[in-house]
């Protein structure tokens, strides 16, 4: 077994006992990438030389910091100083940020090792990692299927043991949905829990950075390192960061869990429902009190999202004009430079969302669309507030289906959008949520269980997810990769 197959907490234990060095771990990670990433395409940039150089330095040091010597992959929409950062878009080709995102700064301070940048849907607009200008990422469990998205590269890299930890971003499910489809653990913390300084903006009222890991313990360890207030991001919240690794308990007796009926309705695959039902039985068996509840405005969440997210995106993406960075179409006058840079630099889905968002914000339509959506957002948030006044957690499937085939939904945007129907409400309400593996379909594809808590109660999520993991073995199963 390669050391790349271990979790971060296992590696840290072994480093402490001097059984392995971080250099050996890093070498095994790159060996795995070289063997399998031609097929999987999880990475768009690799930093092998730097990583090995850093590992060589770190192996001689006594590990003092919490992620010392642990390889980490980073989604390509997070700025790393002097490293290519493209959002998998042609319009940012050649861009090398002159500064580090705050999460990168925190990783450096904790002495983690930067492996490279991972593939994503262009500007994180997508649920399948098919809209990347670098071509699609493939799901390690079945190369004919998508890995989910938009953080598909990060999820696939963790799943295929091509890294130990990965960072993603989640605007409508972009961490949790690919984590579910790739059989790994994906955490979207509370809105404001992690600084977004240096995360290339998509929809600012929804975006959040989060983690993709092999188990719940790693998620808690990772969050403890990267969470916290940052004066560079005025939306980050000034609350003390607990040591999340202290949240674990085997005993969840009396934990009050709500199971919303709307998340098990039509459109949710039968095998997905069965796996989640079984997970609920496991938790009930451990003493949790699970009850069916209603979140009546759930059916409106997708509509709200597809007004707010494109509207905010159309504004955030106005900065890509060919002047300051990235791709530029050479034209004789400024206006034609704008028009043609954006025509040639953006892919189909990005254009679709910019046009939709521009329309929703254009004169005469603002009240009918954006304001209306913000009002319904209030109703969705109120639904959650009511449930959390009586329950600790909400349990749902993460994704309505397991991974679908590459090409299956790419020509039908509405069908594609429906794959985020169970994760979007969480972003609208700013809540923390995790996806953990909870089973497999008959064809061997992973299914995810979503656990949602009230704002800043990530500890309750970790407590429940850890108890579930300790009593099941879904997270221990690995895809069978075939070296060609």
């Amino acid at each position: 077994m390669g050391l790349n197959e271990l979790t971060a907490h296992e590696i840290l234990d072994k480093i402490e006992k001097k059984e392995v060095s971080c250099e050996e771990v890093t070498r095994d990670v790159f060996r795995q990438i070289e063997k399998f990433d031609k097929d999987i395409n999880a990475y768009v940039f690799l930093d092998k030389q730097e990583a090995l150089k850093q590992a060589d330095v770190l192996k001689k040091e006594k590990p003092k910091n919490s992620l010392c010597g642990i390889p980490v992959a980073v989604k390509d929409n997070i700025c790393a100083k002097h490293k290519p950062t493209t959002c998998s878009s042609r319009i940012l080709s050649g861009f090398k940020p002159p500064y580090d995102a705050s999460v990168i700064g925190k990783l450096k301070a904790s002495r983690a090792i930067f492996v490279g940048k991972t593939n994503m849907d262009e500007f994180a607009f997508g649920s399948s990692t098919e809209t990347s200008c670098f071509g699609p990422t493939r799901n390690p469990w079945n190369l004919k299927t998508i890995p989910g998205g938009s953080s598909g590269g990060s999820a696939a890299a963790v799943s295929a043991d091509e890294t130990i930890l990965a960072i993603g971003s989640d605007t409508g499910g972009s961490i949790r949905q690919p984590a579910a489809m790739c059989g790994v653990v994906g955490l979207k913390p509370t809105y404001g829990r992690i600084s977004r300084f240096g995360l290339i903006a998509f929809a600012s009222s929804l975006d959040q950075i989060g983690t993709i890991t092999k188990d719940v313990e790693d998620a808690a360890l990772f969050l403890t390192v990267i969470a916290g207030y940052d004066h560079h991001d005025s939306t980050s919240v000034n609350l003390a960061v607990p040591d999340y690794t202290k949240s674990f308990q085997r005993d969840i007796k009396g934990l009050k869990i709500a199971v919303p009926r709307e998340y098990f309705g039509p459109g949710i695959d039968r095998e997905v429902k069965n796996s989640v039902q079984k997970a609920i039985e496991v938790l009930s068996g451990l003493g949790a009190e699970c009850e069916e509840v209603m979140l009546p405005h759930t059916e409106y969440a997708l509509s709200v999202y597809y007004i707010l997210a494109p509207a905010e995106a159309s504004s955030n993406l106005a900065r890509y004009d060919g002047i300051q960075y990235g791709y530029r179409a050479e034209k004789k006058n400024l206006l034609d430079t704008y028009f043609d840079t954006r025509r040639q630099g953006f892919g189909q889905e990005v254009k679709r969302r910019i046009i939709l968002g521009t329309y929703a914000l254009s004169s005469g339509y603002y009240e009918a669309y954006y304001l209306k959506a913000q009002k319904v957002r209030t109703l969705i948030k109120d639904d959650f507030d009511k449930i959390f006044s009586r329950y600790d957690l909400i349990l749902t499937p993460t994704s309505p289906t397991a991974a679908f085939n590459i090409g299956e939904k790419i020509d039908d945007p509405l069908k594609m959008y429906l794959s985020d129907i169970l994760t979007i409400p969480v972003n609208l309400a700013g809540l923390p949520a995790i996806s953990v593996p909870c089973g497999f379909t008959a064809s061997g594809l992973p299914v995810g269980l979503q656990i949602i808590a009230k704002p800043f109660n990530e500890e309750a999520i970790f407590k429940c997810a850890y108890a579930f993991e300790q009593n099941t073995d879904h997270h221990l199963k690995k895809p069978k990769l075939i070296h060609r």
Binding site: Q324, N333, L334, L335, D336, K351, Y359
Partner: protein, 92 residues
């Protein structure tokens, strides 16, 4: 809710679209707008809008001068530059 005048909106968004793209987009967007229309089933007259989920208002800090990025490093990313400026094509 209305149908989209693609030419007008594309102009606002500063994106040139090929005719074939326009056709596709018009169809996709009308499907999406039809779906979104379900929001009108809800009466929201008395509902306040949510823009920030935790109710964050203005965030203030002291008005202090802090170091900025180095101009050279920033301009390294510019497709065209001239000295310490971004170079752009003719405007008029």
């Amino acid at each position: 809710m209305g149908s989209i005048d693609i030419n007008y909106v594309a102009k606002l968004a500063r994106i040139r679209l090929a005719d074939s793209e326009k056709e596709h987009l018009a169809k996709d967007l009308s499907n999406i707008l039809n779906y979104i229309d379900k929001l009108n089933q809800l009466n929201t007259e008395q509902v306040p809008p949510t823009s920030h989920i935790l109710g964050l208002q203005n965030v203030f800090r002291e008005d202090e001068v802090l170091p900025s990025l180095k101009i050279d490093e920033v301009l390294d990313n510019a497709p065209m530059k001239d000295g310490t400026s971004f170079k752009v094509p003719r405007i008029i």
